[in-house]
């Protein structure tokens, strides 16, 4: 079973929840927030495997090129352009669709590589963790997220995916194929606005979803009205307490501050199994 933890808004507690669940369930954890991965700061794993991930970009052999312009014509991303006597590529725009390589009549284009990021794998606090770290300056997160999932999702057992914030393509790449999506939010206008967007995004994938409210305590009826109208179950509330924020600051797990939550987290798994 694959459970994705997403949120829309950043800083609502995705990683806090994902790490606590991985410990409570003895599940494998994939940190797919590759722009800013944080789960390893809490699990402090001993890294046993590191792998560099590359994406394909075209390389031009100007000796063979006749500057016919077919490559420029097929490219929908403006990643390659042709002037009389020279061809320019823009690797940061390229989506690796292989269109230019396929249309070149002179076979003047070949496969090059750009480093997207690295994947690290290791064990910490009883949890098997794999996480991606995007190269700084590299714009595209999705290829790294795909590679992380292709290598480390374990069929047959439980895997948790800690997703990036937002609701764009990177989030869908992370959530796609999950059996359930936990949406972590906070009872505030920001939390609700972004939860609305995230719930819509997850719905387009057809993945069933439920909500965990972090920093609970203030009365915010709009949130509950939204959950009811959307038929989103409220699965758990985590109170708003300074001790939790302080523990988080130092990389302590939620379960260390609130061991009483363990039971609720453990019993979440069978109920997700029933709804997914």
């Amino acid at each position: 079973m694959i459970v994705a933890v997403a949120s829309g808004k950043g800083g609502t507690g995705k990683t806090t929840v994902a790490v606590a669940l991985a410990r409570a369930w003895g599940a494998r954890l994939l940190d797919a927030d590759v722009e800013e991965p944080n789960a390893h700061l809490f699990l402090r794993p001993e890294i046993s495997q590191t792998e560099e991930i590359y994406r394909m970009v075209p390389v031009v052999d100007e000796g063979r090129c006749t500057f016919c312009g077919k490559c420029k014509e097929i490219c929908h991303f403006s990643a390659i352009t042709v002037f009389p006597g020279t061809v320019l590529t823009f690797p940061e725009m390229c989506h690796a669709c292989y269109g230019c390589l396929e249309v070149c009549p002179e076979e003047a284009l070949s496969e090059g590589q750009v480093l997207v990021g690295k994947i690290f794998c290791g064990r910490g606090q009883g949890v098997e963790l794999a996480y991606g770290a995007l190269e700084v300056g590299e714009p595209m997160a999705s290829p790294l997220i795909k590679a992380l999932k292709a290598r480390y999702l374990s069929p047959g057992s439980v895997s948790i995916i800690d997703c990036p914030p937002g609701t764009s393509c990177a989030v869908l790449t992370a959530v796609r194929g999950a059996d359930f999506c936990l949406l972590v939010t906070e009872p505030s206008p920001f939390g609700l606005h972004d939860l609305r967007q995230a719930a819509r995004a997850v719905k387009t994938l057809g993945v069933p979803a439920g909500v965990i409210v972090n920093r609970a305590g203030v009365d915010y009826p709009e949130l509950h009205r939204f959950l009811k109208a959307e038929g989103l179950p409220l699965l758990l509330e985590i109170p708003h307490r300074r001790e939790i924020a302080e523990a988080y600051a130092r990389g302590k797990s939620l379960l260390e501050v609130m061991p009483e939550l363990r039971e609720a987290l453990v019993s979440l798994l069978p109920s997700l199994r029933r709804t997914s």
Partner: protein, 291 residues
């Protein structure tokens, strides 16, 4: 014209709260921008009145003419994104819009249509004009939408003879952040003394160095972990990120959020006071910055 971008690496550190507070405190005319197009929260604090809404098109999507299609399967064979299933159904969520399927279809049964991926808004607020946007959930091209929002804000600022643009940036270090960085005068890095905050701000600082953008550190929730705060400030000194100010952990901030108003308008508490000091220092720094 001066552009000030508020970024953080990690989400939820207080970018929007700071940006809204600056909007309320800044006396000179300015244009506000929400560049976090997939979780656009700045409008929630600025009481905007919508003036203009324009659809935003970016990228392409395949449309198949079933009459012409002979189900030969060439499209599926050529697609690198597993976006065409065994039944030759096109999965638009997996599709990246490369058009390779359309190009190679022997029957010319696939055409590529431009795709509407979001909306750009111009609003009026008590603090000046606000340019914002919404990326439709799950869409690509957030970077292009960010670039569009910035372009409009610059045009508006020029028309109105406004000297400053304040941008509330996206989290992370990827495509939307890179798009929001282009042409800014300086960045405010809003962070918090947590191990995640420290880890993420290091990556963000590396990104700013890469693109040669000057950064200033704002430490939020500063008293949450004094030793980590010290570590953060030491890092900022090493990295050449001047410390613009610190904001204490203050429950008033969460309360202000619920009133949907900029912090200084509803609170005189320590956090609001700290934000005023930050605004004063920023004003002095901007006097030195060339436009």
């Amino acid at each position: 014209m001066k552009e000030i971008l508020v970024v953080s690496g990690k989400g939820g550190t207080g970018k929007t709260t700071l940006c809204a507070a600056l909007a309320a405190l800044w006396e000179d005319s300015k244009v506000m921008v929400d560049a976090d197009v997939d979780a656009s929260n700045l409008p929630l604090l600025l009481s905007p009145r919508l003036l203009e809404r324009t659809p935003f098109f970016a990228g392409w999507q395949p449309v198949r003419d079933e009459e012409k299609c002979t189900a030969c399967g060439t499209c599926r064979e050529k697609c690198r994104f597993e976006a065409i299933g065994e039944d030759l159904e096109i999965d638009l969520l997996a599709c990246e819009g490369c058009g390779v399927c359309a190009w190679f279809c022997p029957e010319e049964a696939i055409r590529m249509d431009e795709k509407e991926v979001g909306e750009v808004y111009l609003s009026e607020t008590p603090y000046g004009p606000l340019v914002h946007a919404e990326l439709y959930p799950g869409e690509e091209n957030s970077g292009k939408l960010v670039a569009e929002v910035k372009k409009r804000a610059r045009r508006l600022a020029e028309e109105k003879g406004v000297g400053c643009i304040f941008l509330d940036g996206p989290p992370g270090v990827g495509c939307p952040v890179i798009a929001s960085l282009s042409g800014v005068s300086l960045c405010l890095l809003v962070t918090e003394p947590t191990i995640s905050g420290l880890h993420d701000v290091k990556r963000l600082a590396a990104l700013l160095r890469h693109f040669k953008v000057p950064g200033y550190l704002v430490l939020n929730k500063a008293d949450l972990a004094p030793d980590l705060a010290e570590e953060m400030l030491a890092f900022a000194r090493e990295e050449g990120l001047p410390h613009l100010g610190s904001i204490p952990y203050d429950p008033e901030v969460f309360r202000a959020l619920h009133q949907a108003k900029p912090l200084p308008e509803v609170s005189q508490a320590p956090a609001a006071k700290a934000v005023r000091e930050i605004k004063n220092r920023l004003e002095k720094i901007l006097e030195e910055v060339a436009t």
